[in-house]
Amino acid sequence: MERETGAREGLKGWLNPSKIGKFGIERLAWLLMRLTGLGLLAYFIGHIYETSHILDGKAVWDKSLEMTQTTEGHLFLALVIGMCVFHTGNGIRLMIAQMGYGVGKAERPDYPYKPQSINMKGKACIYATLGMAALAMWYGMAVMFA
């Protein structure tokens, strides 16, 4: 049997902007969930490595800390805060949806086949999560640049 390859676009499929336009904010949330997840994992590995410098003494600790005490470092940390808040908010939305809340009742699929699960409640949650991420980034910058 010939192997199906149509749905295997990989990263190209992820980042194709026409798909976001075609499938709406849910598609953007799907993409951001993956990108923020990967970004947070990379940050976490870096954070574990950076904090291990505490074992090398005060001089090495202070030097490694200097990297995050610059304007670029603060902006990077603000981005991490934004990624963290979006990933958390969207993750909670997905957990609630998987429990069956807010996804609508099952109906007979009639043309134009609008899925019940893609509704205004879900869209509002995604916009609210994006807003919360922006607010958290702003608060983080206010603390770091104080």
């Binding site: 990967l38 994992l41 490595y49 904090t51 291990s52 505490i54 003494g57 600790w61 800390l65």
Partner: protein, 117 residues
């Protein structure tokens, strides 16, 4: 190799997410108990690690985020491609990465907590 059902793995994924969220909030609040920059000074960070309660919190946080993060990576990689060998390699690779990160992070926590500087 012991194989867990995906439904069980996803429950672990959600459980670790909620646990990590709770502990991360405490971890961040600790930075805000004093001035942010001051809280990151060497002496203050050492004092944090030397507190047994906080060291346990850090260890739990390390385990929860590592499990959640590497399982998330596994899910993303399995979404992109499938096949028995590939899936086995991805699973073993993610488990190895998770174990290595937990081991490396635990070393920092245990050595600092015990004053082995």
């Amino acid at each position: 190799m012991m194989v867990l059902r995906e439904s069980i793995i996803m429950k672990i994924h959600y459980g670790t997410a909620l646990g990590a969220l709770f502990l991360t909030v405490i971890h961040i609040m600790m930075r805000l108990t004093q001035d942010f920059h001051e809280s990151l000074e060497y002496e203050n960070v050492i004092a944090n690690y030397e507190s047994v309660g906080y060291a346990i919190l850090l260890e739990l946080l390390l385990i929860l985020i590592s499990v959640h993060g590497f399982n998330g990576l596994r899910v993303i990689l399995l979404e992109m491609n499938q096949g028995p060998t590939y899936e086995k390699l991805v699973t073993i690779g993610c488990l190895a990465g998770m174990a290595a990160l937990i081991g490396y992070g635990s070393r920092t926590i245990i050595m600092t907590n015990m004053g082995m500087l």
